[in-house]
């Protein structure tokens, strides 16, 4: 056991750091992009606060296209764009954009369904009180749905951890990369098992924290 840690501790530790870095950076950006996408979908719906058929149809369509691409395909498909935006297509920098393009529409969809769960009567009540639409959206709807939005974000974060495993293909490192390189290509299963255990623990922690926060915010 101590031999294993001396031999592999540093490698795994570094990989864990890379995974956490990739996940957290892209997670934050995906939230910033994804929640407004969800809001846009709900607001421009035919029964939303600002119905707009064109905006709704186009965003709906684009999101569906992005959501139908597996991450590994998306990663290579948008290489030219990544090059322009990030200046590089390799390393953690090179993987942030594809991960965001992967996760943001996903978050958008999840947030959309959470916002749609709000009783339309509640929104009407706030309209009847003379409160502006933008305040209704950000201070009432997002607030009322925050418990389920937290649950959405938990799901998205776990999805992101999964996607980062493929980031090794463009040299971004991470736990998935270690498991693949050492465990599969060099046939050292103990390294693979160790990374798997760490991944499982990571996901368990995330899900539990998400559940606790979500339950605290939901009162119905």
């Amino acid at each position: 056991m101590s031999d294993f840690i001396t031999n592999w501790g540093n490698v795994i530790w570094e990989a864990l750091g890379q995974t956490l870095a990739m996940t957290s950076i892209t997670f934050v950006i995906s939230i910033i992009v994804g929640i407004p996408i969800g809001v846009l979908l709900v607001v421009t719906r035919f029964d939303g606060l600002h119905p707009n058929r064109t905006v709704y149809s186009i965003s709906n369509w684009v999101i569906n296209i992005l959501r139908s691409l597996p991450f590994i395909i998306l990663l290579f498909l948008i290489l030219p764009v990544t090059k322009i935006v990030a200046g590089t297509t390799i390393g953690i920098r090179g993987v942030v954009l594809p991960l965001v393009v992967y996760a943001a529409p996903y978050i958008g969809r999840l947030v959309e369904s959470s916002l749609l769960e709000i009783d339309p009567g509640t929104i009407e009540a706030f309209r009847s009180m003379g409160i502006s639409n933008s305040k209704i959206i950000w201070r009432v709807m997002v607030r009322e749905a925050r418990g389920s939005i937290i649950r959405d974000l938990t799901i998205a974060a776990i999805g992101l951890i999964g996607a980062t495993a493929m980031a090794g293909l463009v040299g971004a490192g991470g736990l998935g990369d270690i498991a693949y390189q050492y465990g599969f290509q060099r046939y050292q299963p103990d390294v693979m098992y160790a990374t798997i255990i760490i991944l499982i623990v990571l996901v368990q922690i995330l899900q539990s924290v998400g559940n606790v926060i979500s339950a605290r915010l939901k009162k119905d």
Binding site: T122, A125, M129
Partner: protein
């Protein structure tokens, strides 16, 4: 204060045959400090009507005038200002489920730009008025339907509106809770001087609180006026249906047949305190007829008591009968002969 001038509202469907005329050429006025009720079956256009007062719906034709201004002519900003003067409560309460009772009142106030301490003071004041101050830290899910509606009333009052709109506010409540909400509305109307406009399909709501009523049938006003007049002497079939009066007071006609064959049936209606004198005893003495009470009912219209009697009048001569009817009419009692 609120005036509808030839208001119509059509909802446009995809095709022309899918157009729905929800409200058609409706006109009426609601005075300051009054409780005005609109009654109708579901689908009669009540919800559309009430939503045109605060601009949640726009009329297709005609004008809705609130406080001297046509709602349709207001700019976006002015419309928000107007809505702040008009509180609204709903059948399904429409509270924030993730906020406590107090937060439910404070949040909309702060969104309106009130500072936090003032919002908190108002929450305390109005929660005390609706008698729920001790529940301030509860969540709506922990309250009963009647308590939730009282929170909604406090939320509406906290904006200190001039008008309160009530959209079927008691329709989801049991009779006892309905009564507590209705007496709260009366209290608000009397003590705070707030004009109340309500829509309902429940006759007892109109009877209990309204000064005037409009009966809406398929988007058209069938009858309008003071509650006592409209419901003691309903002119339209739909009003009769709501008032729950068959002219036989619910007694099946085949039971009445044997009476009607020999003598006459009349129905009497008393409103207010006209029934102090023993009317039927006087009729018996004066005209030598024998009145027999077959059915009766008592009720209240807001504060006015009213009663109905179905009477079997044994008279040998036509002029005795006519005289008796004449005399009853002279006592301010509404009387009608009932044909079987």
């Amino acid at each position: 204060m609120i005036e509808f001038k030839n208001v119509s509202k059509t909802f446009r469907g995809q095709q022309k045959n899918q157009h729905v005329r929800a409200v058609e050429n409706v006109s009426f006025k609601v005075a300051d400090g009054e409780i005005y009720g609109v009654m109708g079956y579901s689908g009669a256009g009540k919800s559309t009507l009430i939503r045109m007062i605060n601009g949640l719906e726009k009329p297709t034709d005609g004008d809705v005038i609130v406080d001297g201004e046509s709602v349709a002519d207001l700019s976006k900003k002015e419309l928000l200002q107007l809505r702040r003067k008009i509180g609204m409560i709903f059948q399904s309460y429409n509270l924030l489920v993730t906020a406590t009772v107090a937060q439910n009142i404070i949040l909309p106030l702060t969104l309106e730009g009130l500072d936090k301490t003032e919002a908190e003071q108002r929450a305390e004041k109005y929660l005390k008025i609706v008698d729920l101050w001790d529940k301030r830290d509860s969540y709506p899910a922990q309250l009963s339907g009647g308590q939730r509606q009282r929170v909604a009333v406090a939320r509406a009052l906290a904006h200190e509106p001039k008008i309160l709109l009530s959209d079927e506010a008691t329709s989801a409540l049991d009779p006892e809770t309905t009564e507590s909400i209705l007496s709260l509305l009366l209290k608000i109307n009397q003590e705070l001087g707030i004009t109340i406009f309500l829509i309902t399909h429940e006759m007892n709501v109109i009877q209990r609180v309204c000064d005037r009523v409009a009966v809406l049938d398929a988007g058209v006003i069938a009858e309008e006026g003071p509650v006592v007049d409209v419901f003691t002497q309903p002119k339209q079939g739909i009003t009769r249906k709501f008032a729950g009066v068959s002219d036989t007071l619910g007694v099946p006609r085949d039971i009445l047949k044997p009476y009607a064959e020999k003598h006459r049936l009349i129905s009497l209606q008393f409103v207010g305190q006209t029934a102090n004198e023993p009317l039927l005893a006087q009729v018996q003495d004066k005209f030598e007829v024998t009145p027999d009470i077959l059915a009766g009912s008592m009720g209240y219209m807001k504060r006015e008591p009213y009663g109905r009697l179905l009477v079997y009048l044994k008279a040998d001569q036509q002029d005795q009968f006519d005289g008796a009817l004449e005399f009853i009419r002279s006592q301010d009692v509404h009387v009608e002969e009932v044909e079987i």
